[in-house]
Amino acid sequence: MSILSGQYSLPLPDVEDFDDYTQTIIHQWSKTLAALGFALIPFFFVLDVFMMPPDLLPRFAIYRLVTMALVLGQYVVIKETQPSRFSVWHGYFFSIVAGGMIAAMTTDLSGFNSTYYAGLNLVMISTNTFLPWRTIHSAVNCLILIGLYVGLNLFIPNETPVSRVALINNLYFLISTAIISIATNRVREHLIREEFGARSGLQKARDALWGDMEVAKRIQTSLLPRVRQLPGFKVAATMFPAAEVGGDYFDVIESSRGETWVSIGDVSGHGVESGLIMMMTQTSLCTAVNNDALQKPSKVLELVNTVLTENIFRLGTDRYMTISALALRGDSLVFAGKHQDILVYRREEGRVEVVPTTGTWLGVLTDLRGHLFDGTIHVDDGDVVLLFTDGVTEATNAAGQMFGEQQLERALFDYANLEVDAIVHNIARDVRSFTDHLDDDLTLIALKRVAGAATFVPGAGAT
């Protein structure tokens, strides 16, 4: 059975747990942080030119070049590696490199008196804004930055004496920035957890829906007929279920009395309910044709309808089903049920005959007596009977045009002299190349009258 793969995916991440999720975000945003770093670090050299004594400029240029190279290297590493539990270290690395550069610059200037310490605030804010890491990382990161600044300025000799006032002032602002950064990070961590919970819920709902669709598809495809012996006919069939199971149905039944029946139908709507109704119909029809010999198709469908309408009522739904049931009797097909037209290729006359179906659908009335009528199609050797569902004629191309019954008639005419499985295969191929996607199931059954033939030939998608 050829089955189109479903297109159910919502744009949700496949996340195992919250840690995996945050590692991925931290990794991605570390890259952005590094990119921002190697863009802004040289940009601040313009400030150096205005603010620094000329003799310090070469040294500051080296600081910035080394820092920029390290951050650029970090960017490459992040780009070439996958998120992991080590991704969080990128935040520390960036802070230490950029913060270390700033702290080193202050030692070259006037120590705690230098206003360059303000750059540390930028590093603190940018790191903790970009990276959704845990609050503890945020706090440790801020401490490291402040520690680097204080440590380097205390322990590296500087001509300017340590100014207690300046130290208190600068620490006051740095600690305030740290508190704001940590608090912001804490709030964001909470929001990200909530977002993750919502995403996980959506993902579970999506998986459940996917499961329902799979069940519907399994119901629909598992009941399709296997290889059968059909006296006097070669038969091929194919079904391509749409992504959201459209409720197409076909069957080839040999009754316990040796009678052969072919049926094709389509349940309204999509999904599991359609699949269930299709299964009820298949079961009821099999039971009905085995119930008595030489029954009229109209009577069989009346019986099936009685069961179906009762079950549809119990399900509390409002589905209905188009169906044609055909009894193969010698060189004749006796049929009933309102479904698509039946196309018959007449080999002798070299034309396609359109046989309309009459009556009404199953499931719309509790009693179909008087609403269904039997018709008979005589078939000669080489004649081909084509049954199909609306997924074939209503297949739509990008321009909004339907494949249509006339095009189907032409296709049957073109392929009618091929083997029966090739007829089905070629028509299905034409329809699928006509449309860019299947909105509805696509089902085709071809019966070719061949004197003495007694084989059911599964079509390309029938087994």
Binding site: S268, Y320, T322, K338, W361, D390, M402, D440
Partner: protein
């Protein structure tokens, strides 16, 4: 066509309700109905229309001639309108385009709802005279 009294737009489907005469509410279906669950939007719209028809004693005329496509789920919604209209004794006329194969297939099947009471008439557009 008389003054428009209500319009429903659901995806590519547009249904325009107008007062065709003092005794007839006409609903023109245009576009394409391809929604998976059209009943969600059609049900309240038609409930309001049927209530209006019941209160004013008007009959309904549903015109599908200009409709390009109607999926099976929307046909289900039409069946519900037929049932509700019959339930409240509102006369209902459905007019379709016989030259469109899919319309013939759908509306021929719905003729089984026609009863001798004449409350429901389903006919091709040409028969309108």
């Amino acid at each position: 066509m008389g003054p428009v009294v209500d319009t429903l737009t659901s995806g590519a489907l547009v249904i325009e309700a107008s007062a065709a005469s003092p005794t007839t509410l006409r609903l023109d279906w245009t576009g394409r109905s391809t929604e998976q669950n059209p009943g969600d939007t059609l049900r309240p719209f038609f409930d309001a229309i049927l209530t209006m028809a019941s209160e004013t004693g008007c009959g309904l005329e549903l015109h599908f001639e200009e409709l390009e496509f109607l999926n099976s789920s929307t046909v289900t919604a039409v069946i519900q309108v037929i049932r509700k209209a019959r339930g409240q004794g509102t006369s209902l006329v459905i007019v379709f385009d016989q030259s469109r194969k899919w319309q013939v297939l759908s509306f021929d099947a719905l003729k089984s709802f026609q009863l001798p009471d004449g409350l429901l008439q389903i006919r091709p557009a040409q028969a309108e005279g």
